[in-house]
Subunit: 407 residues, 2 copies
């Protein structure tokens, strides 16, 4: 059987195949960048129309009560909760991943006063490291980076917080959440997991591993739209002791008492800061509803099958690339990353053929396999294009070697 034939058989047997039509997928495009910006659900535009024309245009200020805008942050957070093994009252949708990191790192440092070290790894997603740097320049944190094989050793009694990204944005390598959480707790530290590259593609069990804090992104596998609100998780056992510095009015116990003094709301809503971004939350909710409906276990099974099939197709054509992602699909997120000296022009040549992946400096070609809307036929085709780009060396063309200012 050819790759295309096998793809047809796999698609025919795929229980998730029916969900493909719930997304807008542009003609002539094979989209392997859903780990950067998820595709548009078909239900998003009608929901935006209801929110804009109906709730904002007709309802005006009344919609804060009548359309449930006040509860949106909690409601959407509660829907994300089952995807990450949390209780609904432990998750809230708000601000950006970066801002949420700041809140939770600061909260952890206050809960472990006397300790100042935030331990992470070099090459973690930059914004995670930068937010620690922000607290460091405030004199409140001390950033310590140790390579993943040295993390346990670096977990000494100065560490207030272990902060890691579950699935690495560049390599797709997955940390052992349970073991690292346990080790951190044994060292008296708290743990913050960045789930940006996990949520909606890989099951996470925050309750099971006993995690303290987590954040994650709304615009990748959750399909919440460009720059969607992010989410934050705090284990319920910490709600009473929590204190975070971005004490805005939406996190107040009684925002409409307009008191001069801040009093934090009792639950997860104490993480709110400014007024909730209603239009962004509207789009995010549609994506979350759809992903939750498909179900995280089925998404994960398909995600593994997709990346395994991609490697199989490449191998069959005799393409031998330097895979920096783990070989075992159980040890990686929903992506494959290859190291190639000419990763940039290779990526551009693929894009010119309609296969959209991305380049991560300096030499990584990153292909994401969003299981909610990709077919096995997409995968076979994408593998064929990649093989042809490499065999033909068409990436050498001048047009693929011009760098844009931002990528």
């Amino acid at each position: 059987m050819t790759a295309a034939e096998r793809a047809r058989a796999l698609d025919a047997a795929d229980p998730l195949g029916v969900f493909r039509e719930r997304f807008v997928l542009p003609e002539g495009v094979i989209y392997l960048d859903g780990n950067s910006l998820g595709a548009l659900p078909r239900a998003t535009m009608p929901a935006m129309e209801r929110a804009v024309r109906g709730e904002w245009g007709e309802g005006l200020i009344r919609s804060w009560n009548e359309a449930g805008w006040f509860e949106m942050a909690q409601r959407v957070g509660g829907k994300i909760a089952p995807l990450i093994g949390a209780a609904p009252q432990e998750v809230i949708a708000c601000d950006s991943t970066s801002v949420n990191l700041f809140k939770l790192i600061a909260a952890a440092l206050e809960m472990r006063s006397g300790r100042k070290v935030v331990l992470s790894e070099p090459g973690n997603f930059p914004t995670d490291l930068y937010m620690v740097a922000g607290l460091e320049r405030q004199g409140l944190a001390e950033r310590r980076l140790a390579p993943r094989e040295g993390l346990l050793e670096a977990l000494d009694r100065d560490v207030a917080l272990l902060m890691l990204t579950h699935v690495h944005y560049k390599t797709g390598a997955m940390h052992d959440m349970a073991a690292l959480t346990r080790a951190a707790h044994e060292a008296g530290a708290l743990v913050l997991w960045d789930l940006s590259h996990s949520t909606g593609a890989v099951p996470v069990d925050l309750a099971g591993v006993g995690a303290d804090f987590a954040v994650g992104c709304g615009y990748k596998y959750l399909c919440g739209g460009p720059g969607a609100p992010a989410f934050a998780f705090v284990a319920e056992r910490h709600h009473a002791d929590l204190a975070q510095p971005l004490t805005g009015w939406f996190g107040h116990a009684a925002p409409f008492a307009f008191s001069d003094d801040y009093e934090a709301a009792p639950g997860i809503e104490q993480l709110l800061c400014g007024t909730s971004p209603v239009l962004g939350l509207t789009a995010l909710e549609v994506g979350v509803d759809l992903i939750a409906r498909i179900g995280i276990e089925r998404l994960y099974a398909k995600s593994r099958a997709l990346s395994e099939f991609f490697l199989e197709c490449l191998a069959e054509r005799g393409i031998d690339l330097d895979l920096v992602s783990p070989d075992d699909s159980a040890a990686r997120g929903s992506q494959l990353s290859f190291r190639h000296n000419e990763a940039y022009p290779v990526c551009q040549a693929l894009i010119a053929r309609g296969v959209i992946g991305d380049f991560r400096a300096p030499d990584i070609l990153r292909l994401g396999f969003a299981p909610a809307y990709l077919s096995f036929a997409d995968i076979a085709e994408a593998a064929r294009h990649l093989a042809e780009v490499l065999e033909s060396e068409e990436w050498r063309r001048e047009e693929f070697n011009r760098r844009s200012a931002v990528t």
Copy 2:
């Protein structure tokens, strides 16, 4: 001439009358709450459709470059600039007002190291005071509140930052920005103006008064939609010395170098933190374009005329209410606030008649006069309804005296 007749004449002569049809105004509603949530511009929905279906759905990740998403925060900021007397490169649209307050208060404290006091007034908008409290609990700030008549006296050599809201949210009273900025600078302090209740209704001249920092809201007079992104201003002379703690990847000099270490971008974009909220910025840009096109001087002139006409209509009917806003329209923003023991049920009775204003605890009826879309006929009608509610005492009805959980 009756009030209605005079309203007709005023509307006929109103150069801004033609803009009313650029907004969606629900049938049977007179909307006096544009100072809380601005009305929906007719151009917003088509713009959202282009952004969602076209840029996100079809363009996918490519739209960061091809649809200009990377420049949106600066572009929208640059369009807000002329409304507040700033240069385009001094303003950026991002995060919420609360989060932007945190960045700029922290930056000011760092620029005035050795001083810790942030001076404001009691009864300032709560989130402004709460964000100082957040820095206070980090041990970085000391909050000092002085009533407005005591501000100059409280401006001693411990004050790092004077932080005030230009137009008071509850009373509409306007501070003398020039005099207070001068006094703060003479005391060696910096100044941060919250322009949430000014921008789009009242002209502000940040350059003229020599302001250091400002923030403002996107969802009030700028008509950017519920929970729209906010904006932040930093005078260009401070850009090189600025350091703010929310050092996320979008504020990095080279975000796509993915370096472990933070290096702030040189200009106003160093205020960015997480990924820009593209859908929220899309709606905000439409509102800003429209308000900027109408022009701030014309908006201000009409805003004063509207509130003066409202008071005239009430006086004519012999209604004598306790106005807590300044009598002189030159000394207030685009609103009138009345103190009334039964402000809550009076507000509810007005809403039942289709006149939407709002209640601010404990006893304020607040009516906003958004000049971009209100007519003098609206004003005459609203005054008639208010007079009738008071004369008939229909506010005593039980249905108007039930408090909802949030208002």
